[in-house]
Symmetry: C2
Subunit: 435 residues, 2 copies
Amino acid sequence: MEPTASPEAVIVGAGLAGPLLASLIARRGHRVDLVEGRPDPRATRHHGGRSINLGMSARAIAALREVGLWQEARRLSVPMRGRMVHTAGGRPSFHPYGKDPSQILHSISREALARLLVEHAEKQPGVRLRFDARCVAVDRDRARVTLADGDELAADFVVGADGASSIVRTEMQRGLPAAFSREYLEWGYKEITIHPLSDGTPAVPLEALHIWPGERGLGVAHPNIDNSLTCTLFLPRDEPPDPVSEAFPHLAELVPDLDEQADAAPMSHLTTVRTAPWHHRDKAVLVGDAAHAVYPFYGQGMNASFEDCLVLDGMLARHPHDREAAFAAYEHARKPHTDVLAELSARNFLELRDGMRSPVRLARKRLDLLLHKAFPGTWVPLYTLVSHTTVPYGEALRRARRQDRVAAALAATGAGLGVAGLLAALGRRHRRNPR
Amino acid sequence: MEPTASPEAVIVGAGLAGPLLASLIARRGHRVDLVEGRPDPRATRHHGGRSINLGMSARAIAALREVGLWQEARRLSVPMRGRMVHTAGGRPSFHPYGKDPSQILHSISREALARLLVEHAEKQPGVRLRFDARCVAVDRDRARVTLADGDELAADFVVGADGASSIVRTEMQRGLPAAFSREYLEWGYKEITIHPLSDGTPAVPLEALHIWPGERGLGVAHPNIDNSLTCTLFLPRDEPPDPVSEAFPHLAELVPDLDEQADAAPMSHLTTVRTAPWHHRDKAVLVGDAAHAVYPFYGQGMNASFEDCLVLDGMLARHPHDREAAFAAYEHARKPHTDVLAELSARNFLELRDGMRSPVRLARKRLDLLLHKAFPGTWVPLYTLVSHTTVPYGEALRRARRQDRVAAALAATGAGLGVAGLLAALGRRHRRNPR
């Protein structure tokens, strides 16, 4: 008997999710055309203004492990063991991410991770890469992709991994009753660099995410392996502080040319995209930002996109003879959780903007972590569930809400409860809510 | 001194809001090009499937009065004095719309109203109409409109009155950080006709909106001046009842060819569109469905679009030398209220679908009307505020919520309160909430 040819896929978009998904599905014999409108990231240098550094956490790590790239990605990254908050008048305060050294994030430049993924995808049998190959049209019923140079690619299915402004999504949904929403944050961002000191050492302790809460701005810096930090200045789009240094006096001390860098940087926008459906029959499907762009304030955009790829690959394996069922199961499994992530990411903007200056919220964070250390299996802060586990986002939120109710009940019954009382309260709550 | 030439406007879309706005602004000397992609409604017959009959209520009446068209529109319409609900087993029940004969709706065919408005706009000095003239591009910074035949129209500003799929909106917002959302109801609709009986009399009492709540469907019929009724069948898009007559046994008795008509009618979609901003500098502005398409279940889509035109015209008059300020004031004044209308319209779908069979909700509606009759200045049901006044939608909702709280408080204090107690409660509540 002749073996059936595995289905052929065209993946549009070779940013991050695209090459990861190509590598994943190629393992089961899918032949894949991976096309990307931009140039090969291995041939170009960082062009600036385009990227917030990425924090790899549990979900990205799980996906990279699956394709055998985690150790290499780790070597290209700097561990971030917690947040370092720089507030006016006083030393920066450090807040660990988790209860132990395993609960940390890993800062990597978008370009380094992209190159690693593209390099790996290209080595997989059956995967063919084309850069400078912009998709201009998709025939959703025939699974055909037309490129800007006129070439038409035929496939069994098309994957839209082409970001928040996905053309695959537009073409897939054109004229159909598809829900779509796009919001822009009233704040945008500019990217600057915190260079190492003249002796080559980093200007601030390297192994942390640095936060500068400002009156009308928020600075967030990720470390790079060359001892520089990439600092993202989040600013109100309508009336950004002018000069920027006025909003960030502490940062200006570290970055003498802060205003020059900020003036030269374009103001980029932040967007949330929600849509449904994510697939069209068995012919087209969306992953990553094309399906659910989120604000970057939970550091989960890339992590969630990678998780999409794992889930989609798993569903294709589970339904080898019914791709439409695989796509539907993937959408059903993922969308509720990425909807929750969109909410959490929007909420975290407010927390980062306002909460980092609020002693009450910082105290609540510390209490969360304290309870987590005391009862690691029972009490897990929301941030820990999102960043250091692969518990689905929606389930993480439900669990955190139960904890919030317990905390509120504790507060309502007075401050006299010791650990014994807390344990008892947790026990009662858990018996009532067995999940 | 030479008089300044009044600004020239291109209005894209001559459905309903377009010609109304043209007539309004022409009064102050604006020269207007009104362009429409479809043919002249005066030259064509009703083509079916495209329109839910319109119920003119207080807001539309106010706008039509403003351009002197109300009496003529009224002659083309049939008054609807209340809802007539056809439920299984029993006589239809009648529920008046308001406390007196002035609080009624007026059913008119979309085509008749469109012809009236177009006819009137064409007579205004300075207004030029072009049908079969599809807008294909808008230069938002230069206020230029390109038509499908290649003609370019120059103007001082462009108005997008081109409906839920507005091309003016798309072109105005392209690449800018504009919020946009589009949702589709999981139910769509088909349109059928309830013909008069063989003796020429209407098959059901004419002066009412007729409602057939079904298990998996909802029929709503508006009267026409020829004694027919246009019946809209709202049905789940995924699994519509098949045959339709099974879901509407009572309606099937009145319409012998119900299934044939339903099979022949296309399934149309219902959409909610929200967006911001509604304007671009002093060059482009949106009205009607282009800015805020809503579900038809509150009967307010056209009424709200007409109100847009009144408000925009008023703001242009108030800011004669600063059109950008006029556009901004218009958007600021209207958007909060059309957002509320979108919510009310979605909520009313559930009420119409489920509530018409619920004795509790019908009783609550009757109580609302009773209180309204007893205390006409103090207690006004939400439906009355929306349909029979020009109180802004948001303010109507706030007022109704206060009433709901009073009703809840009354219920909580027991059923022993008579009119005196009710009056006292209302008095107390009103002193506390002076608005």
